[in-house]
């Protein structure tokens, strides 16, 4: 998975960083120039932008646009994290039932399309008596789908820690929770954060799937405005830029966390 990261190689020296920023600026200008060639209607754009961003509430009084996208993504992120932690524990468990449940769930949700999962949860569950609203169906589908992927990410991070780390901690007769939270977890997090960040950026964009259940998130709003006024380019480009800006925000958070958990690793050679 490619992660675009303008601010990462801090250790590379000033020349490298300047080169990176200059190239980024050039590419941005080129992109903007190409966009300008499209003769966009900026008046219309600025009129609709507050709605797209979600600064105004929908007619039914609920949040919409980017605000709803952020809401759906952050709630799903938290739930996915919880689901993933439990699944990863099951995946590493010696209990056959826990292991089987974890692998069954991960296989099912990684092996079927997210769109199908959303529809089944929204449309099929009511037939067996579970009626869920559009929003909760979307949240559940996103959490379960991404939880399955995230569980594997967490597991691989934990498995990548050398066995000697746990052994050394056990030899010091440390309590179990100290071994888990002070010795293992910080080391696993360092390995988990980059791929988990990529997953969350991808979830941000997949959150547009909840629109099929009548939720007015960013992508849905952009498309419906576009359809009614034929301002397709304006709306699609605006939506794309907002998604991009949000992804960059996510990446900045990820970058900060990465730096924090690189403690003791990033300082090599400082003798």
């Amino acid at each position: 998975m490619a992660i675009e990261q303008p601010a990462l190689p801090t250790a590379m020296g000033a020349g490298f960083r300047r080169g990176v920023w200059l190239t980024w600026a050039t590419l941005l200008i080129l992109l903007a120039a190409a966009g300008y060639e499209l003769n966009l209607d900026f008046g219309y754009l600025s009129q609709k932008l507050p709605f797209l961003l979600g600064l105004k509430l929908a007619p039914d009084g609920f949040i919409q646009g980017a605000a709803l996208t952020i809401f759906v993504t952050s709630i799903s992120m938290i739930c996915a994290l919880g689901v993933a932690l439990i699944t990863a524990l099951g995946r590493m468990s010696r209990n056959p039932v826990a292991f089987a449940i974890a692998t069954f769930y991960a296989s099912l949700f990684r092996g079927t399309p997210l769109l199908v999962q959303v529809l089944i949860i929204y449309l099929a569950l009511p037939q067996i008596g579970v009626v869920l609203g559009g929003l909760s169906s979307g949240l559940i589908a996103l959490s379960l789908n991404y939880g399955a992927y995230l569980a594997e990410t967490i597991r691989s991070g934990v498995m990548a820690i050398p066995a000697g780390q746990r052994e050394a901690a056990m030899a010091l007769a440390l309590p179990r929770w100290v071994i888990t939270w002070k010795v293992m977890a910080p080391q696993a997090l360092r390995l988990i954060i980059p791929p988990a960040g990529a997953l969350f950026v991808s979830m941000l964009k997949d959150s547009s799937l909840v629109s099929i259940m009548g939720l007015w998130e960013l992508n849905f709003l952009a498309q419906s405005y576009a359809r009614t006024t034929y301002h397709y380019m304006e709306m699609l480009i605006a939506a794309a830029l907002i998604y991009w800006a949000l992804s960059i925000l996510f990446e900045l958070v990820q970058f900060r966390l990465e730096r924090r958990f690189a403690r003791g690793v990033a300082v090599a050679g400082g003798r």
Binding site: A169, A171, L172, Q187
Partner: protein, 245 residues
């Protein structure tokens, strides 16, 4: 003299491989024991069984009067410090944090007491000035000395060394061996698996030779080096002494 460690007829299998065969051993306080033998002879496994890192399938292990079992394992580990071939320092913690962990969480000291304990043992391995550094800022020899100090911070009655110099560059071996010699001279009971025969002769009062999971021969260094009884020990000595520094 009270016996600190007793193993009686300990057997262990890894799958179908019989890695410890009827191993019996008694170690009294202040003994300094070097365990040697060809690779795969069960030396490391023996050490790992003594602090319960690996379970054994039959026989009994008593440490400081306690029978090794699930319920006593942590209590036993408090009395047994272990130093590994690959150091196994925690890379995300400073030297001081590595050393304070056991005093705080195992020995329930206050942070100040833990800090004092950590510095006490850092002084002993001559590394107090590196307290705030991270492990990967230190050389291999320094890391292993920190690992020794970390094990000592547990204030154990016994120290186990599992090939403590095998992962080191040649020029760093001596600094680690010197620390172990100092420790031995201070009266610490220790068991050390090593291929450093000169060191073995100098530090130990007893050498145990293992092969294929069995204790083949044991005795004083002079006895084993000069008058080996079994042909296997003789062959082993011929091989290691040839390459001895």
């Amino acid at each position: 003299m009270p016996e600190l460690i007793t193993l009686s007829r300990v057997n262990k299998w890894h799958g179908s491989t019989h890695v410890l065969r009827d191993v019996s051993l008694a170690v009294t306080t202040h003994e300094r024991i070097v365990i040697c033998g060809p690779s795969g002879s069960g030396k490391s496994t023996l050490l790992r069984c003594i602090n319960g890192l690996e379970p054994h399938q039959s026989g009994e292990i008593h440490i400081d009067g306690k029978l090794m079992a699930g319920a006593t394992r942590d209590a036993i580990r408090k009395e047994v410090g272990m130093v590994f071939q690959s150091f196994n320092l925690f890379p995300h913690m400073t030297v001081l944090e590595n050393l304070s962990l056991a005093p705080i969480w195992t020995r329930r000291m206050t942070r100040e007491e833990a800090r004092a304990t950590a510095f006490h043992y850092l002084e002993r391995v001559h590394l107090a000035k590196h307290a705030e550094k991270f492990p990967n800022q230190l050389s291999g020899g320094e890391q292993q000395r920190v690992a020794i100090a970390r094990a000592l911070c547990l204030n154990p009655k016994i120290m186990l060394f599992d090939e403590p110099t095998s992962a080191l560059d040649p020029e760093m071996i001596q600094e680690v061996l010197d620390i172990i010699i100092e420790l031995a001279e201070s009266g610490m009971t220790l068991l050390c698996v090593t291929h450093e025969m000169g060191f073995a002769r100098r530090v130990s009062n007893r050498i145990i030779f293992m092969d294929h999971g069995e204790i083949i021969e044991q005795g004083s260094p002079a006895q084993l080096f000069e008058r080996p009884e079994s042909p296997r020990l003789e062959a082993f000595l011929a091989r290691v002494m040839h390459g001895d520094r």
